[in-house]
Structure formats: structure tokens, C-alpha cells
Symmetry: C2
């Protein structure tokens, strides 16, 4: 007999997974988790500041988003290695949302960002309660891929002015004007940062690996690149006073200490909440889709399980937590998670350690962040984002399927030229239309018998036997309002080619559903054929379909036609 408190515990561990894994935590994992935690903490500082800049927000908003949210996720999330915090795609979506002109009158950018995070969190929790996680499947791979490439291109364009110290506000898209405003010191720091980051990427990794170093150590060393970049460039800026002497843009002062927890966002006006709601929907849904996609990648590699509904709860709560602690919207970050994973993280303990280290940094030395040059941060963003621009994926998709490639291209172009949210929305609509279009052109084949076997194959693709008085038609799809007209038209066209025809046999082996529109249309068509002395028979009908047909008085509707268990029985009975 199970102990009386077992059901309660099961429910608890379901909703708070840490209770389950921490009790059985294997001591030998501890060293790996600590190492991975240190490496990820090193990434948190530059990424947090950079993504806040990308979103058009003060640096601390990104750092605060790296404290409570990963901690919450460590307790509630089902991925062992997902690193939750600020991410580039959400950041550019926030930046895009903040440009809406009506927002200026309603509050400050930080207030907008916090409301976006709360609303996003509530949306994800609502999706969890109503089990609507399945809805996100409409963001199909082509939509997600087109969107990611498009958003990444937008990020590149948003960071080039920072990288080169251009004055985009003054010049807009005038290239010559922009080049005239270039700050040569900023550009130098930016380009130096890019080169350093690129060299410490693949080339360094390859060299270290050839020196037979442990893989997690290789990751650890190469992933200090952003921190190293920041330390070097910041030292140069500080030492030469480039920020005032040469007007190199810097991060500026960051308040010392941990974020205050506050529910003051509740005081914002109803109009303010409503104005941001559409953007919050897009940001949170994309954050969720990308997080789960990343979580699945690492989980599959280690045969762990991801519960999509629990992820909604974890990410929803994490986004509410970021808002309470003055941070921006969060999600699972691809690069950070891969770093965490390949640095050897076994559990979310690694993230807890990373958070503790980041908190210590915020408590002790935020003044060192003041002189970080924006050019270096732009370089960090650009190097992180570049691999997400995948034009080649469109070519690959095109090779496979033209409709999917079209969806991908439309989404990409719409993100670039209509806007990020418009791009996603259009992509989803195109996905649904293309899907409906495709199902309205079902695959149907005229078949014949393969030799003396019980097999039937397409007459167009195989050597098969056919009979003048008999037409075998295999319907390869469920029959619905969307395709029934196509199917009856196809049968009619085939009938016109067979002057001696007496019997049509519809092979229903692939049909597992016939809706009422199709049922009524098909059987009034069968009745009409009966007046022309052509009998329609069915074969290979599946159980569930047959059950439904029987409820509708099938024998009457089939007129003189019969139902055969298998096509071969139809041949034996009808072929002349």
C-alpha cells in the first residue's frame, strides 16, 4: 500500500520538479554543475547588459532579468540545462514594441518593458491552465526559421551604429551621412572586439582541442571571450578617458545592489496594459516556442523529458518574477544554454550557482560596468546573432517543399518590411491557408493488382493488372468538406475514360475520417452514379469509419454497391 501522502507528493513534484531531482542529486555531478555555473555567470553580465541595450532599455533591466527568472526556472522548469534570462530575439521584439507612438504618453520605456513581461507571463500561465500549449504548433518550422532570420537581420542593422559609433538618429538610412559621423575610437574598439570574439570562437576551440584538453574546459576557456572583450575594451576606455575625451558611448552608471522587488506596475493605467497586450502575446509565444525548442535539443541528447505544459508554468512564472524584480521579458537563450550544456551542466544547480555569482557581482562592483563601451556590446550581439541568419535554410526547404519555402520567404520578408509581429502573424496565416489548400488537393490514385498478390499500386507508377468493367480508386487522405469536390471530380473524369465501366471500388485503407459534408456529398454522388448503372463499392474501410457509416444507414446509401473487407475480395467478386 502506498504511503498516504504519496498523491500529494506526486502533484508537488510534478509542478515543482526540483523537489524530485534535488533529493536524488548525485554528488559526482556537483563539480560539473559548479564549473558550468561559473562559465554561464561570466556570460550573464555582458549578455544582460547587451540585450538591455538591444531592447532600448537601461543596462540593469537586463541584469535584473538574469537573477530571479533563472532561479524560478531552476525550481519549476523541466529542462536540466536551459538557461533562462534575457535573449536577443525577445529584446528586438521589445525594442519594436516600444516604438509605438501612443506609448510615450503612458509611461517610461522601463515601465512598458515590465508590463510586457507581466502580461507575457500571465498569457503563458493562462495557456497552461487552458492546456493551449498545442496552439504554438501553428508557428511551424518555416515560420520560425523565416522569423528568426528576419529578426536577426534587424538586430544586425540595429547594432551597426553602436559598433561603429555612428549617429543614426541624425542620419537615418543615409549611408554617406552615417559614415561621416563615425567615431573612429568606437569603431576601433568595436572591430577589435569582433576580431577577438571570432578568434576565440572556432579557431581557439580547434587549437585547444588539438592540445587534448577536456571538452568542458575548452568550452569554459572559449566562452570567457565576451567577458575578456568587455574587460579589455573597458580598461582601454577607462585608461584613456575615451568616454569624455572622444565621446565613445558607454553603458553608464548601473545602480549597485540587488533589484528591489515591487508590484508598482499594478498602478499603471488600463490603457497602458491594453496598448501593450498584442506585443506581449507575440513576445511570450515566441519566447515559449524558442525555449521549448532549445530545451528539446538538449533533452533529446541526454534522453531527458520536457513537459510542454510545465514549461508554460515555469516560463510564465519566470516572466512575472522578472517584472517584479524590475527586469525585461525572459526566455531560454540558445547560445547561453549550449554553453551551459557543453560546459558540463548536469542540472539546474549550475544556473543557481550562476545566479549567486551574478548577485555577488551586482552587490560588489557595478561601478566597473560603467565604462563598458557600447561598441564592444554591439560586437558581442553581432557575433552571437550571426549564426541565426540562415538564408541557406530557405534553399534547403525549397528543395524539399515549395509551399513551405514560400511560407518561410513570406515570413522573412514580412518581418523585414512590415514588422516583427506582422511577420509572425502573416506567417501563421499563410501556414494555415497553405495547409487548407494542400488538403483540398488530396492524393488519389487509380490502382491495379500487383501480379497475383494482395497488393494494389498506382497504375501510373507500377506494372499492374486492371479490368475494363472495374475502376479501383485509392483515396489517400481523410475526406472532408475541403477535398470532397476534388475527389468526386476525379472519379467523374476517370469514369469518362472507361466506357465499359460497371463498378467503382473506392479503396478506403487510408481514410480514417469522413466528415458530414463529405459523407452527404459522396453518397448523393453515388446515388447519381446509380442512375447511370455504375455501382460504387467500398473496400478496406477502417473500423471507426465503418462505425460511423453504419449509423447513417450505409446499405441504403450505397444503392447496389457492397462493402468488401479487402480490395482482393472486390476483385474476386466483380472483375470480368
Amino acid at each position: 500500500m502506498p504511503p498516504p501522502n504519496l498523491p500529494k507528493q506526486t502533484l508537488l513534484t510534478k509542478f515543482i520538479p526540483i523537489l524530485s531531482w534535488l533529493r536524488h542529486y548525485p554528488k559526482q555531478d556537483f563539480n560539473s554543475d559548479v564549473f558550468a555555473g561559473i562559465i554561464t555567470a561570466i556570460l550573464f553580465v555582458p549578455q544582460g547588459i547587451a540585450y538591455a541595450m538591444l531592447a532600448g532599455l537601461p543596462a540593469q533591466v537586463g541584469l535584473y532579468a538574469s537573477i530571479l527568472p533563472p532561479l524560478i526556472y531552476a525550481f519549476l522548469g523541466t529542462s536540466r540545462t536551459l538557461s533562462v534570462g534575457p535573449v536577443s530575439i525577445a529584446a528586438i521584439m521589445i525594442a519594436s514594441a516600444l516604438t509605438a507612438p501612443e506609448l510615450a504618453a503612458l509611461g517610461t520605456p522601463v515601465e512598458h518593458a515590465i508590463i510586457l513581461a507581466v502580461e507575457g507571463g500571465l498569457i503563458l500561465l493562462a495557456m497552461a491552465v487552458f492546456r493551449m500549449g498545442g496552439l504554438v504548433k501553428f508557428i511551424s518550422h518555416p515560420v520560425l526559421s523565416g522569423f528568426t532570420t528576419g529578426a536577426s537581420i534587424l538586430i544586425v542593422f540595429s547594432q551597426l551604429p553602436h559598433l561603429l559609433g555612428l549617429n543614426k538618429q541624425q542620419c537615418g538610412y543615409d549611408i554617406a551621412c552615417n559614415m561621416g559621423t563615425m567615431n573612429i575610437y568606437a569603431a576601433g574598439l568595436g572591430i577589435f572586439s569582433m576580431v577577438l570574439l571570432l578568434l576565440m570562437g572556432k579557431p581557439l576551440t580547434r587549437t585547444l582541442k588539438s592540445m587534448q584538453l577536456r571538452e568542458s574546459l575548452v568550452t569554459g576557456i572559449s566562452k570567457t571571450a565576451p567577458l575578456l572583450t568587455v574587460i579589455i575594451t573597458t580598461s582601454v576606455v577607462s585608461f584613456f578617458h575615451l568616454y569624455d575625451m572622444q565621446q565613445v558611448a558607454i553603458v553608464g552608471e548601473i545602480p549597485k545592489g540587488l533589484p528591489d522587488l515591487s508590484l508598482s506596475f499594478l498602478a499603471n493605467s488600463k490603457e497602458h496594459w491594453i496598448a501593450l497586450l498584442p506585443s506581449a502575446i507575440f513576445i511570450s509565444v515566441i519566447a515559449y516556442v524558442e525555449s521549448v525548442a532549445i530545451a528539446l535539443v538538449t533533452a533529446n541528447l541526454r534522453n531527458e523529458k520536457i513537459s510542454t505544459n510545465q514549461e508554460l508554468i515555469a516560463l510564465g512564472t519566470a516572466n512575472i518574477a522578472t517584472a517584479i524584480s524590475g527586469g525585461m521579458s525572459v526566455a531560454g537563450g540558445f547560445s547561453r544554454t549550449m554553453v551551459n550544456f557543453s560546459a558540463g551542466a548536469r542540472t539546474q544547480l549550475a544556473m543557481i550557482i550562476a545566479v549567486i555569482l551574478l548577485a555577488l557581482a551586482l552587490l560588489s562592483f557595478t561601478e566597473q560596468f560603467t565604462h563598458i563601451p557600447k561598441a564592444a556590446l554591439a560586437a558581442i550581439i553581432l557575433v552571437a546573432i550571426a549564426p541565426l541568419i540562415k538564408f541557406r535554410e530557405i534553399i534547403t526547404t525549397l528543395k524539399y517543399d515549395r509551399a513551405d519555402a514560400t511560407t518561410q520567404t513570406i515570413t522573412l520578408l514580412a518581418v523585414l518590411f512590415l514588422g516583427i509581429e506582422e511577420g509572425i502573424a502573416l506567417g501563421v496565416i499563410v501556414t494555415i491557408i497553405a495547409f487548407l489548400q494542400r488538403t483540398s488537393l488530396p492524393h488519389i490514385a487509380v490502382t491495379g493488382q500487383v501480379g497475383d498478390s494482395e497488393q494494389f499500386r498506382n497504375v501510373g507508377r507500377h506494372e499492374v493488372t486492371t479490368w475494363p468493367n472495374l475502376l479501383l480508386i485509392r483515396i489517400d487522405e481523410n475526406i472532408t468538406f475541403a477535398n470532397i469536390t476534388y475527389i468526386t471530380d476525379f472519379i467523374s473524369a476517370q469514369i469518362d475514360n472507361k466506357p465499359e465501366l460497371e463498378h467503382v471500388v473506392l479503396q478506403f485503407g487510408s481514410v480514417s475520417y469522413v466528415d458530414i459534408t463529405a459523407f452527404e456529398t459522396l453518397f448523393s454522388y453515388i446515388e447519381a452514379l446509380d442512375t447511370r448503372n455504375i455501382t460504387v463499392n467500398l473496400a478496406d474501410v477502417k473500423g471507426p469509419v465503418m462505425d460511423k457509416f453504419k449509423k447513417m444507414d450505409l446499405d441504403h446509401h450505397l444503392m447496389k454497391g457492397q462493402v468488401f473487407f479487402h480490395s482482393i475480395d472486390a476483385i474476386k467478386a466483380l472483375a470480368k
Copy 2:
């Protein structure tokens, strides 16, 4: 060699079908067509006036819609017996469109009605040009049936005040108040009309048939009921001066003569056209759907063909013609077409004769129409509309499919409580959502071998052989973004039940399409299974699917898995 003018002639007869059938017109059909034409003409007068009243328009607008449009359709339509003219469903939709408050400032109700007809005609022609007739399939049977019942109920409520001579304008929905305003003379005429119409329906038909009369003659006699009703009640109203003495509502004066042809609607403002466009879309699409549905019923009975694209052209032109001649939107009417058909019409010549007779009536005795009591017209509408209220259809649908029954009920309720156009729109949206929902829960079965045969069936439904190291899974649907998650979850659940499992065989016999999202998800899932030493194999893969897989380097993605031509080959190779 064909004569040089053949292609031109073929094109002509394609777009003007009358050129083809009139040349080969069989003389023996002439009598039938004349008889049917007379009967239909007798219906045209009361229906034309009644449907104009239903739409809230002067009587002549309905009569004018019964002249040019059926004539145009006779030349362009592909149905031999469809009777085009004013119809009840379009009339109630026009009435509903005319209630929009912003219209009052833009013109008169007749002007609105004419613009609705022109716009509707142009929409149908555009659909023909862009071959978009297929779009109407989204108005599935459940939507159409729910809509028809809902609209018919609205018609009943709109006619009760006329039938009983109530003052609905004064009382609204207050039943007691309405009853207080009842005009006892009008109510008497209305109820007498209903009784007469009902008696001349089934009871008279049955009696005449039992007297061995010819069926077309029986139809002819019973279908004079509306005319007889009008003649009797109008005579009573005229003779006793009920219209002024007792204030019985009458049709009023109708201008004598044929309608003037005019393009004056072109002078209406742009705002006017834009304000009516949404309603015009709904009216024309429903008019088209209902017309084709009726045309197909009669065509199927006589093995004639309907070209759906040519119907768009014919109905589009007919609607432009009705506007030019001062009439309201037209469609194929169900009751009138069935009368025409059962009175023996062989070709559209019957309709041409009906139009000539109606034109003669308009030229010679419109003053006799003046005193037609509205109560009698309401009775005609009610008797015609009652059979369209089919609550039983929802029960039938429910028996067959719960999702379809839900769509039907939602459409019906939305038409009643939200509005006619809103109801159709909601029905279409629900249809698409339900469709996507259903395809995301595909039919999948674990199968086993039937005896020693080459057949495989569902383990849950049949006695079959299975093996501990082998899992056979038949996927019964195309694999897309909508259902791939369900499929991989299903496979995972089955794997957990089989501790000795080595091989999964996916039976692809029913799969004729795998989109890129599904492809990528499936094969990264297969790679993940490979790390657990479970190999995934494919069997029964169709040609087109295999072609695509090969482009994507299938062998690499399948890891150690193989592709078998047929499931039996997989058993021979893998079963232990």
C-alpha cells in the same frame, strides 16, 4: 482536320451554353417547357412581391428582379432547370444589411439594394476570373444548414407581424402590446391564406395523385396555390375596401410597364459602395452556394453537368443585370426550381417563357396588384420557408459527428443572436479551427500481422501476431506541423511499454505528404531514439514521399534504420 472556326465556337458555347443546347433543341421538349414556364410564371408574381417586402423594399424591386436575371441565366447558366430570381434567404440578408444606421445618410433603400446587387455580381465575376469558386467550400454543410435554419427562423419572426397585422414598430418584442395592436381583418386574411396554402400543398397533391393524374399536372395545379391565395384575398380586400375602412396593409401601387434600364447607380458615392461591400460579399457568396447546391440536385437527377466556374459567370452577370433593371439581388430559388423541375421543364426555355408571361403581366395589369394584402404575402413566405427550418438535421449530424454538430449549432445560434453575416463568418472560422484541431489528433494504430498473410491490422481491433523486439506503428494521416508532436508522443508512450524493444517500424502506407516541420521533428526524434539503441525503420513508403525524403539524405537521417518496400519484408528481416 477540324474546321478553322471550331476553337472559337467551343469557347463561345462554353461561355454561352444556350448556343450549344438551343441548336439541338428536341421539338418534343417544347410542350413540357411551355407548361413548366406557365407554372413558374404564376409563382414569380407573388414571390417577387413577397420577397421584396421581406427585404424591406417596394414590390416592383422584386418583380424587376424576375425579368432580366432569369433571362440572362437562361443564356449563360449550365443548369437546365434552375430558376433564378429573388429568393427568401438573400431577401432577409438584404433586410439585415439595410438596417445599418450609417446607410440612411447615403441614399434610399432601393439605391442600397441596387448597389448590393452590382457589387455582388462583380464579386462573383471576380471569383470566376481568379478561379476562386473553390473558396466557397469553407461554407461546409453544417455551416450552410445551421445558417439556413437560423435565417429561416428570423424570416418567420419578421413575417408574423404582417401575417397578423401587428404594429411591431410600436410594440417591439412586447407580446401583449403586439396582440393589442392586432388587426383582426388582416389576421383573418393571413390565417385563411395559410390554411389554403397548406391544404393545397401535400393534402391536395395526395388527392390528385390518387386520381391518377399526370405528375406534372399535379404539380401545376397545386403550385397555383400562391396565385389563388393572392387572387382570393385581394378580391376580398378590394370588394370590402378593407385597405381604407379597416386599415389592412396592402402592397400599394406598382408602376405599370417594364423596368427602365439605367446605370445611374454608378453615380453613388465611394463611401456608399464601401459601406455595402461586406454585406455584398456575404449575400453573393451565399447566393452562389445555394444556387449551385440546388442546380446540382436537379442536374444529378438527370445526369447533367454543372460547371461551377460558369455558374459564377452566369450568376454574376444576372446580378449586374438585376441592378441595371432596378431589381434586387438574385439567386437560384429552391422552391421555384423544384416547381419548374417537377412541372416538367427540360431546358431554360421554360424560364424564358415564364419571363415573357411576367413581362406581359407587368405591361398590362399591375393595378390589380395594388390591393394584395401583406398578410397573404406573409402567409406565402411562411409556408415556403417552414421546410427550411430543420432542427432535426442537428440531431442527425450529432449522431454522425460531434464536431460537425457543434459547428452547426454555433452557426445557428450566432445567426439568431449575433446577426446573419456574423453567423456565417463564425461558422466558417469554427469549421477551420475544428478541422485543424482534428488533423492534430491523427489516427495512429499499433499493428500486428494477420495470421501468415501480408495484412497488418490494429492490435486493438483484430487477432494479430506481435513481437517483443518490434513495434509496428501505422500512421493513418499525412504528417504535418499540426500532428507531428502527437505522433512522436504516441510513439514514445508505446516504447515505454516495450522493455525489450529494438526496432520501430513506421508503416507509411497512408502517408502521402510530410511537411518540412514534420520531417525535421521526426528525424531529430529518430536520432534521439538512436542514442537509446532503438532503431526506427520505414515501410510501405509511397513514391512521392520517398522522392522527397531522398532529396534530404534519408539514409543519414535514419541512422541504422532501413526502408522496407512492404511491412512483411520488415517482419522477415527484424522480428525475433
